[in-house]
Amino acid sequence: MTTNLVLHNLIYILMKRFSKYTFVFILAPFSVYAQQENPIDSLKQIQLSSVVIVGQQHVANKKVKVLSSLDSYLESNSAINMIKRGAYAWEPLLNGMATERSVVTIDGMRIYGACTDKMDPVTSYVEITNLSRANIHSGQSGAANGATIAGSVDLVRRQSGFGNKAFRGSVFSGIETSNLQKIAGSALQYSSENFFTDVDITYRDANNYKAGGGKEVLYSQFTKYNLSAISGYKIDTHQQLTASIIYDRALNVGYPALPMDVSLAKALITSVQYDRHLERAVADYWQTKLYYNEVTHIMDDTKRPIVPIRMDMPGWTKTAGYYSKLSGELSHHTWTANLSGHYNKSVAEMTMFSNDPNEKDMFMLTWPGLQTLYNGLFLEDKFHINEHWNALFTLGSALHYNYVESNFGYESLKIFYPQMQRSKARWLKNGAIKMNYNKQKWQLSFGTGYGERAPSVSEGYGFYLFNSSDKYDYMGNPHMVNEKSLEFNASASFTTPMFFIKAQTNYFRIFNYIIGISRPDYIPMTIGANGIKIYGQLPAATIFNASVLFGSPIADGLQWTGKMIYRKGSSGNLNLPQIQPFGYGATLKYQYQKYIAEIGMDGALAQTKYSPAFGETPAGAYTVFNIAVAKQFDFAKQKLVLKAGVENLLDRYYSTFADWNRVPRMGRNVFVNVVYGF
């Protein structure tokens, strides 16, 4: 089930238990007014889920640094790592697996990044100020919106919902010293009996940041605008219509770990949703959404003074999709059926401009106008066996169809695969079972699952995609079979008023594991590349994840939490790349009335199981410290929240396993966030 940002939820449980001030406080800045009649979907989620979901609470409230990026928020979950290629648009890894193996959605919508180098993950198109929560499912329980191996992350946006007539809002601003990031924005909410609207605007602008010790990290600047709007209309007590739009525009985004930057990354994400309560309990709720989105991503090297050759690399994706979800209860069963589908077209080009001006431009299609058509049915049943036991069953099946639309692209790929068919259909299956046991202080669960996925656009159909880590050109392979995963998971938690601990582990045995395999007989394309890797399949690979979270209230208002995380990924003697070494963290938080102070520590042991075959060098051990304080001022009808802190207090120069090409992380960074609510 949902391991819904476990750490924070547990902190929340603790807080709720030990500090009556906390609840008010953490709700403060954005959605203090949001506890009205919830939209029916979130009510339903609470019913369905055994895991604590903090309703409409704004995610930002969970962090002292309200205006931190969504990326750093997600990173605080123990199942997630973020691969950093710069200061912006980090790529989420779920359970140690990159985005090909997970499904990342915004309100259940599938979106395809338009960058062949994964510089625009779906997560980069949502601002933290829009977000209500991130539902993180590990493994096959996350297959509701698409075939997955690692699981799914669904970013759920905030909606104020229906209620008494009111207009509220907040303006916020922030500044950070390391990269002179300036943040400004506004969140406006209007609600009435049968209509609501939420509009958020956020602007961020950052210069190059400085690594520990003060060295400037060149090409780490970015500018970003994000507009998010959701509007709901209550047709009658049982029916609701919601429309939403996100327009996100990032400009002049530097990627210090890559040889190119981005001049423009633009996404338009739209949806219309219909919700309906049904009269009968056996099927009491129906939600249907239609959506469309398009993403444009323009890579650019004009800011780099020295390149072997100038090039343009634009990419475009368009996705249209739907899902229709029906749920209900029948005696001891709580069930959901989700029919979902989407159509996507991905195109990417590369034009290189010869250093000899008399020569013609060199053009290739790096994504061949690939069309993907996906349709899947996902069933979930939670069976309440008795007071202590319940079981969760999921079962899914999907058809996945690819067609190479562009003749140019098809002819290009046929150079490598003369026998290649223009289309390919796949049948994907998944299923999982999980047993949960609850008794007083103990909560135990264990489960197993099986799932399959199709190769991604790049894995199946990419054409000379340069990977700047191992410095190989990657070629897609349309002849690959489905990747299959067998997973086992277990978790145990023990909670008393004075202490909690939760241990979680999962193990994935992945068959036909897709990975780039070096082909010395092929000649690379990119100037200076080490060679060519063709996507191929290892017979099997193993990924193991384990985490322990614990915490304790030390005294009234003072609490302590800690975490430890370890992952391992290998196939025979080969270490899989981007696998987290042993990491740890601890936070001490003190709250008194409307003050909050926090000191945090984060670190990792040296990476010993790195993957030189994929260009990795070992990341060293590190420990960094962060401190932050916050204060809320209440006026008659307004409130002002002031938060400030220092990250990487000791200005440590460090780089982790997740830093692409070991680009150093930010050095000491002082931030101030101000939120004014009215």
């Binding site: 072997p308 050759i309 590369m350 290189m352 010869s354 250093n355 000899d356 020569e359 013609k360 431009d361 060199m362 053009f363 290739m364 299609l365 140019f408 002819e411 290009s412 046929k414 150079i415 490598f416 003369p418 054409f463 000379y464 007989d521 092929y522 000649i523 690379p524 394309m525 990119t526 100037i527 200076g528």
Partner: protein
């Protein structure tokens, strides 16, 4: 109203165009998609020379001919032969050329090829002599022709390690694509100044590279060999992107000995013989 007016005009234009075609079926239909290079006249007949682009260039030239009476009517029963000759300052020589035959399926269109090793200039020129018979009567005609340099190298001429002077001309691809292109070439030997027989049984090894891209190369190329009765050499040329490509060549004889050309490697960027394409 406007819509009707324009539709009417369009219908009229289309009608007029189709009428024109019908009335000239003999003259233009068979040379559709061809461009006239030159009309050669000897007072009795006119010989129209066509190529696809209307030019004669260094390298392989596929040439189409029509013979006409002075009244413009087509001749479909001629036996035609030709002799190209280069008038240089110090000497004269011919070039590889084919016999002339009727184009399959056409009534009065003849075809052949000429492989020019060099372009003409102010003092040196190519002459084309025709000998043909209609019925039992023999005729001849001749003309100076203008042969220009090709934009990219499509012909190599060299003396092999076997002391044979070879001429290799690229026939296809004429319009290369980002794809696995069908490649064709012809291999001749310069036996004497006027005789250029086709050489059989060789292998023309190819290694396409992009010097502007760190000598990027492509996979799944197929060396050119002869197949069947056709004397042309056929192979496959993979071009992974548009731009300038150098097709490095090595010529191997029937027993596999390389008579010219060097393998491209980390230390050797290019063969001494190569073709070029740019698109």
């Amino acid at each position: 109203m406007n819509f009707l007016k324009y539709t009417g005009i369009m219908i009229l234009v289309i009608f007029a165009m189709s009428c024109k075609k019908d009335s000239n079926i003999n003259n233009t239909d068979e040379t559709a998609n061809l461009t006239l290079v030159k009309t050669i006249t000897n007072g009795t007949h006119n010989i129209n020379l066509y190529t696809e682009n209307g030019k004669l260039q260094v390298g392989y030239n596929k040439i189409f001919l029509q013979l006409k009476n002075t009244d413009g009517s087509l001749i479909d029963n001629a036996q035609v032969s030709w002799r190209p000759l280069m008038h240089m300052m110090s000497m004269q020589h011919a070039c590889p050329y084919s016999t002339i035959g009727k184009v399959a399926g056409k009534t009065a269109l003849y075809e052949g090829y000429l492989v020019f090793q060099m372009a003409g200039n102010a003092n040196e020129y190519w002459e084309l002599n025709f000998d043909y018979t209609i019925g039992n009567t023999a005729y001849s005609a001749n003309t100076k022709i203008e042969v220009t340099e090709a934009a990219k190298r499509n012909l190599v001429s060299f003396v092999g390690t076997d002391n044979v002077r070879y001429i290799i001309a690229m026939v296809a691809p004429k319009n290369p694509k980002v794809a696995t292109n069908d490649m064709q070439a012809m291999i001749f030997k310069m036996q004497d100044m006027l005789t250029f027989p086709i050489m059989d049984g060789y292998t023309l090894k190819i290694d396409p590279r992009m010097p502007g891209m760190g000598n990027h190369g492509s996979p799944n190329n197929v060396h050119l060999t002869q197949s069947g009765a056709d004397k042309t050499y056929y192979g496959k040329l993979s071009l992974t992107m548009t731009g300038y490509w150098k097709i490095n060549l090595q010529l191997a004889n029937a027993i596999g000995t390389i008579v010219k050309g060097e393998e491209v490697s980390g230390t050797n960027e290019s063969s001494s013989i190569y073709f070029e394409v740019e698109f």
